[in-house]
């Protein structure tokens, strides 16, 4: 399964990448909205995990791009920080499937990925 992880904080991005690879997933990373946008326009993914606050395009804009322009139904899991409840609601309105609040338990992310993949 090929997963795109979008997160601008390097340490967090590396940690998620490490964990997912260990779980046997194929992981592509994007450190900002621009890189993510480019990747999304060229490749298809089986799952997208995205932070909301990222440079260039926000997480919300990317979700909108995937759903409205690419017309893709790829599962999207949103990573948010405390205090971003309104953005999470907006993410769901735009078509996100699930969310996790940082800091999160890595194993829980794996469970949610597997759950989304089964649908």
């Amino acid at each position: 399964m090929k997963i795109l992880v979008i997160e601008d904080e390097v340490m967090v991005l590396k940690s998620i990448e490490f964990k997912l690879k260990k779980e046997g997933f194929d992981v592509i990373t994007a450190p900002d909205g621009k890189v993510a946008h480019e990747l999304l326009s060229k490749e298809t993914f089986d799952m997208i995990i995205t932070d909301l606050m990222i440079p260039y395009y926000s997480g919300l804009e990317l979700i909108n791009y995937v759903r409205s322009e690419l017309k893709s139904k790829v599962p999207i899991i949103v990573l948010s920080a405390m205090g971003q409840e309104e953005s999470i609601l907006e993410a769901f309105r735009l078509g996100a499937n699930d969310y996790m609040t940082k800091p999160f338990i890595p194993n829980e992310l794996i469970i949610r990925i597997r759950k989304e993949a089964l649908r």
């Binding site: 904080e9 340490m11 590396k14 940690s15 338990i105």
Partner: protein, 616 residues
Amino acid sequence: MDEVAYVLITDDKGSITYVNDKYCKLTNCTREELTGQEICIFKSGYYTGEFIENLYKEIEKGNISKNVFKYKTKDGSVLWLDTTILPLSDENKRPERFFTVMFDITNPINNIELKEEYRTELSHEIRTPLHGLLSMVDLLSETGLNHEQNDYISYIKETSTHLEHLINDLLLAIKIDSDEFQFESVPLNINHLVVSLVELSNLQKSIKDIHYLFRIDQNIPPALLGDPIYLRQILVNLLDNALKGTEKGTVLIQVKSVEVTSDKQTVEFQVSATDSSISIDKQKEIHERLTFAHEKSTRLFGESGMSMIIVKKLIVLQKGTFSYEIIDGTGYVFTFRIPYKKDTKINEFTQPPTVSTGQQLTKYKILIAEDDKINQLIYKKQMLKFNFDYKLAEDGFKTLELLQQESFDLILLDMQMPGMNGDEVLQKIRNELPEPTRHIPVICVSATIQPEIINTLMETGADAYLTKPYKENELIEIIEKTLSNVSLVKEANQPNQSTAVNLDPLNQFAHGDVDFILEILEYFRSNTPIELESMQQNFKTNNAELSGQLHKYRSQVSLLGLDKLTRLTLTLETALNETNSFEPFQNDFKNLLVLSQEAIVDVARLIIKFKTEHTL
């Protein structure tokens, strides 16, 4: 002069009698309109009547007045005018006319502000690629190079590290010189700061055979008000210099409280370096270098004169004083004093670290100098109870002998012993024993309560004084206190180092993969100083940007289990999002910087630990 300056002449009443064309243009009036008027700058509204009166008083005495005045033109632009008023006297030496020349220096003043903006940008722009360079060299050196290539790489490393230091020094020097540079007055825990610094230097000193010691006066309160960042800078520069100049020997930092008033506390810091391996030739060379240092007054040991200029500036700007002294051609002592304000309320984040009784202390080895058999028995019982390692010496000679044979962490020294008195023993320890033993912490024990005697002992070099009879917990307390304030820091192998970093959260991702943990720690160590610097620049100027940076930073510190720092970051982040002011958060922000510095030290220590364990 008419071309470049505004020129006018006024009579003894201050009314204009002559103006040049340039001045007419400035005020947008004709010569006729201006005649009989007052000089425009005095009507600008920027200056009080009192100020102008004083100025008149001066020039009426016949003195030349030189000032820079602010002036707003009719179209609203602000000018800065470098103004000279020259009184022209009559035959009775009474000024009858005043000749005024004004130069427009507005642009240079605006340029200063530009320079500041430029500096901020420059600092970031230079450091980022340099950091990239250093990281790449690190990576490259681990790719299996041949012998020759390794030599070249280590040369590149050395040179670029040197370059990095120079750039940091240069940027700092520019910063100190800038108009807006000022010191913070926030709670400052000197004990904490010095300890963390010595630990860091211990990690850096690598292969050299240097004993690192520090000694902190117990009378320094845990919280004074001052600038932790720049105190740190001063000490780092001095330690760097000491390390560069010493191959084998001792570097000692001593911190003493010197003058205390009701609201101020002056603290004296002493950094001394002695090199025991110095040959006679080398002594000569060092002596020449130090003489040169006196002449130029910028160079001490070390290569970078810049870092000493910075040290001196930082001390003097904080109303401090400094001096230095050569010891027998083998080393030197640099002493400086800074007056700090006393802090009336102690903040959560500046509480001193407490040493817990019991477990932590088990590793210490104590030498007990006591002749009385009964007292010896009591000591034995107490040492066993608190799980200290100990040895007994029944007189002064035995004490000195044991000190030269074994290494101890502390001495409990009885003052009344046969043969050689305690104060004599103390004097011999401090003056005659080899380094580093001569700096061992000493607690004097005696039945005397005469203040003069106690004072003399403290001056001779005792670290604490215990009066007999004492209660058991008093003994333990004074041992703990002395050990935590005056600590012989051995090589970076002190067990049970309590560390603020908790790797559990990261390990949930890493599952014990040391390489991965190391990668993340290395990233944090090398990247965080740059991020903090950038945050510091945004503080006060760009709350929105800073809040974003804090947001990212919070993910990092929470990944390293730095709970206090995570909480503080969240508080600041939320606060800055909700308001445009920064004043109320000044202390919190400073605390964030201090805690972060400590976290970097912790992380550096963990990296070393992992690297050594990993290769075993």
